[in-house]
């Protein structure tokens, strides 16, 4: 497995991308896509990135569902702030959160989750101290946000990646 397919998930994703772009599952496209996917994964192997390990696919699925629901809910919340509030953005502010997660893949996924949820944006992460600087649109109670990020996302991400 390791010699021909160093990154099986990457190769699979590239093959799916090729088939979706060409909108066909004919034998020719499957073969051509597989060749390209395997070649690209060799290029990736030459770069030698740190190999991510997904420990628990079940937890990853649960996290995905949770994030989708949270994105929906914060869309409504941010929409209400923009439309209803007389002076929108008056409660916005920066806050710092101490993080326990150290895996780089986990931090990358956490940054995408936080930023693509409307109302919160990841600004910078201090690797030495393990603190994260966030900007929040509706910053009334900091503890609520700390509980959300640490309790809901970080715990699951640590289960998946660490």
């Amino acid at each position: 497995m390791n010699g021909i397919l160093p990154y099986p998930l990457l190769s699979l994703a590239l093959l799916v991308l090729w088939l979706l772009l060409n909108q066909s599952v004919s034998a020719g496209h499957v073969i051509l896509g597989s060749v390209i996917a395997v070649l690209a994964s060799w290029v990736m192997a030459a770069l030698r990135p740190e190999k991510p390990r997904i420990r628990r696919p079940g937890a990853a699925l649960r996290l995905t569902g949770m994030v989708l629901v949270d994105i929906l809910r914060s869309n409504l919340a941010v929409g209400r702030i923009i439309v209803r509030s007389r002076e929108p953005g008056v409660n916005a502010g920066f806050m710092t959160i101490p993080l326990d997660i150290r895996s780089r893949q986990g931090l990358a996924v956490l940054s995408i989750i936080i930023t693509s949820t409307p109302g919160t944006i990841w600004v910078s992460y201090d690797a030495a101290k393990g603190t994260l600087l966030l900007h929040v649109l509706d910053l009334i109670d900091e503890t609520v946000w700390i509980r959300t990020i640490k309790g809901r996302y970080e715990r699951l991400l640590m289960e998946i990646f660490d």
Binding site: I82, P88, A92, T115, P118, D126
Partner: protein
């Protein structure tokens, strides 16, 4: 409008709902660009269009073409995956660039860099 006569009514209604919802959410997000007070608050506005707006429009489109061509047309997933991966990157970069500019100008509205190295933006 071509070859639409055999489109079932409930499909048309569902697609209409998806498209209207997505457009409304995107419009609210863009309104946020106008209404919100400062730059850091405005960064939150485009995420509405890039999450729920994008998802709802693409769901409508995928559904519509799947029914129209009587085969699963799911290449909208590509746009969805692509936008989900890239929008956070651009917004994070913009927020960091703005923070860096405000810090170098000595603005007091942003949290100060705790160390001198923080002023040097990461490569």
């Amino acid at each position: 409008m071509t070859a639409l006569e055999d489109l079932p009514a409930w499909t048309a209604f569902f697609v209409s709902l998806c498209v209207l919802l997505g457009a409304a959410v995107t419009l609210i997000g863009s309104l946020g660009l106008l209404r919100l007070g400062n730059f850091y608050a405005r960064v939150h506005a485009p995420t509405l269009g890039a999450t729920l707006g994008m998802g709802s429009i693409l769901l409508g489109s995928a559904f519509y073409f799947s029914v129209l061509e009587t085969r699963p047309v799911v290449h909208e997933i590509l746009i969805a995956a692509f936008v989900t991966l890239t929008t956070p990157v651009t917004l994070m970069l913009l927020a960091r660039a703005a923070l860096y500019r405000d810090r170098t100008e000595g603005s007091t509205d942003v949290p100060a860099a705790e160390m001198a190295e923080d002023l040097i933006p990461p490569g």
